[in-house]
C-alpha cells in the first residue's frame, strides 16, 4: 500500500521536475483557440490554393498569378506602400520617443495625443484624410489661396494611402520604441558623458546600438500592419490602379470572381512576401548586440 503511494508521488515529482504539472492545463484554451482559428484555416487555405478552380496542375494558381501582370504587380504596389510607411514610422518615432523618456509636465497629454489614432480606426482616418487633403479640403484651399495653380492630388492615389498608413501605424511604432528606449539604463549615457562623449557621440555609440534590435522588431510589426492594408487602399486610394494591393486582389478574386482557390493562393503569397521581409530584418538583427540593456525594461 505504502509502496504505491510512494510511486505515485515520485511520478508526479518527476513530471514536475520536467515542468509538467497542473499549471499546464492553463495552456489548453489558448492552444485550442490557436488551432481552431489560426492553424486550421491557414492549412485549409494552403491546400485550397493547390486545387485550382478549373482543375489542372496544383501550381496553376501560382503560375497564373505571376503570368498576369495586373496580379503580379500587386506585390510591388504593396511593398511600395508597406516598406516606406514602416520605415517612416520607425524613424519618426525615435526622436519623439527620445524626447519623451524623461518626466515632464504634460507628458501624459502628449502621449495620449500621439496614441489616439490607434483608437480611431482606418475608416475614420480615411474620412478625415478625404476632408483635409481632398480637392476641396482645407489643405488645398490654403494652397490655392497661397497662389497654387491647381489643387494637389493627395487622395484617391498612392499618397492618400501612405498618409493613412502613417497616421494609423505611427502610434504602434512610437509605443514600442518608447518602451525599448526606456529599457536602456540612463546611467549608461551619463557614464559616456563623463568619459567625454558629446550628445551626438552618446546617441551613436550607446543609445542606437542598444536600441537597434528593438527597432528591428518594431519595423517588422509596423511593416506587417502596413502590408495588409485594405480599407484605406479602397477609401483614399485608387483600388483598381496604383493602390491595387495584394489584399484587394485576394478579396476580389475570392468574393467577386468566386475563385476561392485563387484567392487563397494570393493570400499565401502575401504571407510569403511578409515572411521574406521579416526574415531579412531578423537575420540582420542577429548581427546586433541583443543582451541586457540594464534598464527597467
Amino acid at each position: 500500500m505504502t509502496a504505491i503511494v510512494v510511486e505515485r508521488a515520485s511520478l508526479k515529482h518527476r513530471l514536475a521536475e520536467k515542468g509538467v504539472d497542473r499549471v499546464l492545463w492553463l495552456l489548453v484554451p489558448g492552444a485550442v483557440f490557436v488551432v481552431l482559428l489560426f492553424v486550421y484555416p491557414f492549412l485549409y487555405g494552403l491546400q485550397l490554393s493547390f486545387q485550382p478552380k478549373g482543375g489542372g496542375s496544383p501550381l496553376r494558381n501560382y503560375v497564373t498569378f505571376f503570368s498576369d501582370d495586373y496580379l503580379a504587380e500587386t506585390v510591388w504596389i504593396t511593398l511600395r506602400l508597406g516598406l516606406p510607411a514602416a520605415l517612416f514610422n520607425v524613424l519618426a518615432s525615435i526622436p519623439i520617443a527620445f524626447r519623451m523618456r524623461g518626466r515632464f509636465r504634460g507628458k501624459r497629454a502628449l502621449t495620449t495625443l500621439l496614441v489616439i489614432p490607434i483608437t480611431l480606426g482606418t475608416v475614420l482616418t480615411a474620412e478625415g484624410l478625404l476632408a483635409f487633403f481632398g480637392p476641396t479640403g482645407w489643405f488645398n484651399r490654403v494652397l490655392l489661396a497661397l497662389g497654387a495653380d491647381e489643387p494637389a492630388k493627395l487622395t484617391h492615389n498612392y499618397w492618400g494611402v501612405l498618409f493613412s498608413l502613417i497616421i494609423t501605424g505611427f502610434p504602434f511604432a512610437f509605443l514600442l520604441t518608447l518602451s525599448y528606449l526606456s529599457g536602456i539604463d540612463p546611467t549608461l549615457e551619463q557614464a559616456a558623458a563623463t568619459l567625454g562623449a558629446s550628445r551626438r557621440q552618446r546617441f551613436r555609440t550607446i543609445t542606437m546600438p542598444l536600441l537597434a534590435p528593438g527597432l528591428a522588431v518594431t519595423f517588422c510589426l509596423s511593416f506587417v500592419l502596413a502590408f495588409s492594408v485594405f480599407p484605406s487602399a479602397v477609401m483614399v486610394g485608387n483600388p483598381a490602379g496604383e493602390t491595387h494591393v495584394m489584399s484587394i486582389a485576394a478579396y476580389e478574386t475570392a468574393l467577386r470572381d468566386n475563385d476561392f482557390a485563387m484567392g487563397s493562393a494570393i493570400a499565401m503569397l502575401m504571407a510569403l512576401v511578409m515572411l521574406i521581409v521579416i526574415g531579412v530584418v531578423l537575420i540582420w538583427r542577429t548581427t546586433l548586440y541583443r543582451g541586457a540593456t540594464g534598464g527597467k525594461g
Binding site: 539604463d185 546611467t187 549608461l188 557614464a191 563623463t194 568619459l195 562623449a197 555609440t205 542598444l210
Partner: protein, 352 residues
C-alpha cells in the same frame, strides 16, 4: 598613467533643489589636488547629489564650482573631464572590456597605437588581462567593478568621482576592492571624491571626511578628528557612538560637564556643545569596562542579550530605568547578570 594634478577645487555655496525640496543646502568645500575626500551620510543626505553636481550630471540651482580659479559649473560633463565610477558600474553592455576601457580615449580621437598602449596599461593595472575580450555580462561583480575603475582612470582625469562603488559587492570582496581603490589612488596620484554611507569605509579610505545630513555639512575633518571628536550628536551617532543616554545637566564649566541619568547615576564627561538642562551622553559600546565595585562614572545594568563575536561579546543590557545600553566586552557575561560598567571621563561626550 597618472592623474593630472590641480591645486584646488572649490565648491562655493553649491546648492541643488528638486522642486521644493532642497537636496543640497549651500555646500562649501575645498578639495586639494591629490586628496582622498569621502562624502559620508545616510541616504537622502545629499552626498550623491553633491557628486552629480561635481560631475556635471546635475546642474546647480545655486553657488559655483571653480577649479584653480576657473569656473566649471556651467560646463557639461563631457567638457569637465572628471572620471566617474557609478554604483551600478554603468558598463556598456554591448562592448568588450577593452572597448569599455578605451571608450573615453576613442571619443577623444586618440591615435590607435596610443589608445592600445594605454588600454593595455589600464587592463594590467586592474589585473583583467585574461578577461579583456569578454563582455560585461560575462564578468563577476568584482571584475565589473575593476573595469569601471579602469575606464574612469585611463583618461588620467584630474578628479575621480566614486558613487558608492562597493555597495553591490559581497563583504569579502568589498574589503579587497577597498584596498585596491586606495592603492590606485596612491600609486596614480589621483584626486578622489568618494561617496558612501558606510562610516567604516570612509574612515579606512579617506584623508578627509565630509559628514552630511539633510543636505547640510555637519563636520569636515580627518578620519581621526571626526571619529574621536564628533561635533554633534548626529555625527557621533554616525561614528559609532551607539549609546545616547538621555541625561540632565547638573553642572558645566570649561571642558567638562556633570550630568545625571534617569536612574540617578552621576557621569562626568566631555562637554562638546553649549548645554541646557536636557542633554545626551554619547558612549561607544567598546568604551565600557565591566568592573566589580561601584565608583565614579559607573552605571549599573542588567544583561539581556549576549551575542558571541569571537574575542568579544556584544551585549545588550538595560539600565535600572529601563533604557537600553550596548556594550562590547571581552568579559564573559550571561543574560540576567547584573553588571557595573565604568567609562572614562574623556570617553563620555555630552551633546545638547
Amino acid at each position: 598613467m597618472a592623474g593630472q594634478r590641480f591645486a584646488e577645487l572649490h565648491l562655493d555655496h553649491v546648492q541643488r533643489a528638486f522642486g521644493d525640496t532642497v537636496a543640497l543646502k549651500g555646500m562649501d568645500l575645498t578639495i586639494k589636488g591629490g586628496e582622498f575626500v569621502a562624502l559620508l551620510g545616510p541616504s537622502g543626505c545629499g552626498k550623491s547629489t553633491a557628486l552629480n553636481c561635481l560631475a556635471g550630471l546635475l546642474p546647480l540651482t545655486g553657488g559655483r564650482i571653480t577649479l584653480d580659479g576657473k569656473r566649471i559649473d556651467d560646463l557639461p560633463p563631457e567638457k569637465r573631464g572628471f572620471g566617474m565610477v557609478f554604483q551600478n558600474y554603468a558598463l556598456f553592455p554591448h562592448m568588450s572590456v577593452r572597448r569599455n576601457i578605451g571608450f573615453g580615449l576613442s571619443m577623444r580621437k586618440t591615435p590607435k597605437a596610443e589608445l592600445n598602449r594605454r588600454v593595455d596599461e589600464a587592463v594590467r593595472l586592474v589585473q583583467l588581462e585574461e578577461h579583456q575580450h569578454r563582455f560585461p555580462a560575462q564578468l563577476s561583480g568584482g571584475q565589473q567593478q575593476r573595469v569601471a575603475i579602469a575606464r574612469a582612470v585611463v583618461l588620467e582625469p584630474p578628479l575621480v568621482l566614486m558613487d558608492e562603488p562597493l555597495s553591490n559587492l559581497d563583504a569579502a570582496l568589498r574589503l579587497e576592492m577597498r584596498t585596491e581603490i586606495r592603492r590606485l589612488h596612491q600609486s596614480l596620484g589621483l584626486t578622489t571624491v568618494y561617496v558612501t554611507h558606510d562610516q567604516e569605509e570612509a574612515l579606512a579610505l579617506a584623508d578627509r571626511l565630509v559628514v552630511l545630513r539633510l543636505g547640510e555639512v555637519q563636520q569636515v575633518g580627518s578620519p581621526e578628528a571626526v571619529y574621536a571628536h564628533p561635533v554633534n550628536r548626529y555625527v557621533a551617532g554616525f561614528m559609532g557612538y551607539r549609546n545616547m543616554i538621555p541625561v540632565n545637566v547638573t553642572s558645566q564649566g570649561g571642558e567638562r560637564a556633570t550630568v545625571r541619568t534617569a536612574d540617578g547615576t552621576e557621569l562626568v564627561g566631555v562637554k562638546r556643545e553649549e548645554l541646557t538642562e536636557k542633554a545626551v551622553a554619547a558612549v561607544r559600546p567598546e568604551d565600557f569596562a565591566v568592573v566589580t565595585e561601584a565608583g565614579q562614572n559607573t552605571l549599573e545594568a542588567t544583561v539581556e542579550i549576549v551575542e558571541y563575536h569571537g574575542r568579544e561579546q556584544a551585549v545588550e543590557a538595560r539600565l535600572r530605568d529601563g533604557s537600553p545600553l550596548h556594550v562590547r566586552t571581552t568579559s564573559r557575561l550571561a543574560p540576567g547578570d547584573v553588571i557595573r560598567l565604568r567609562v572614562p571621563t574623556e570617553r563620555v561626550l555630552v551633546f545638547a
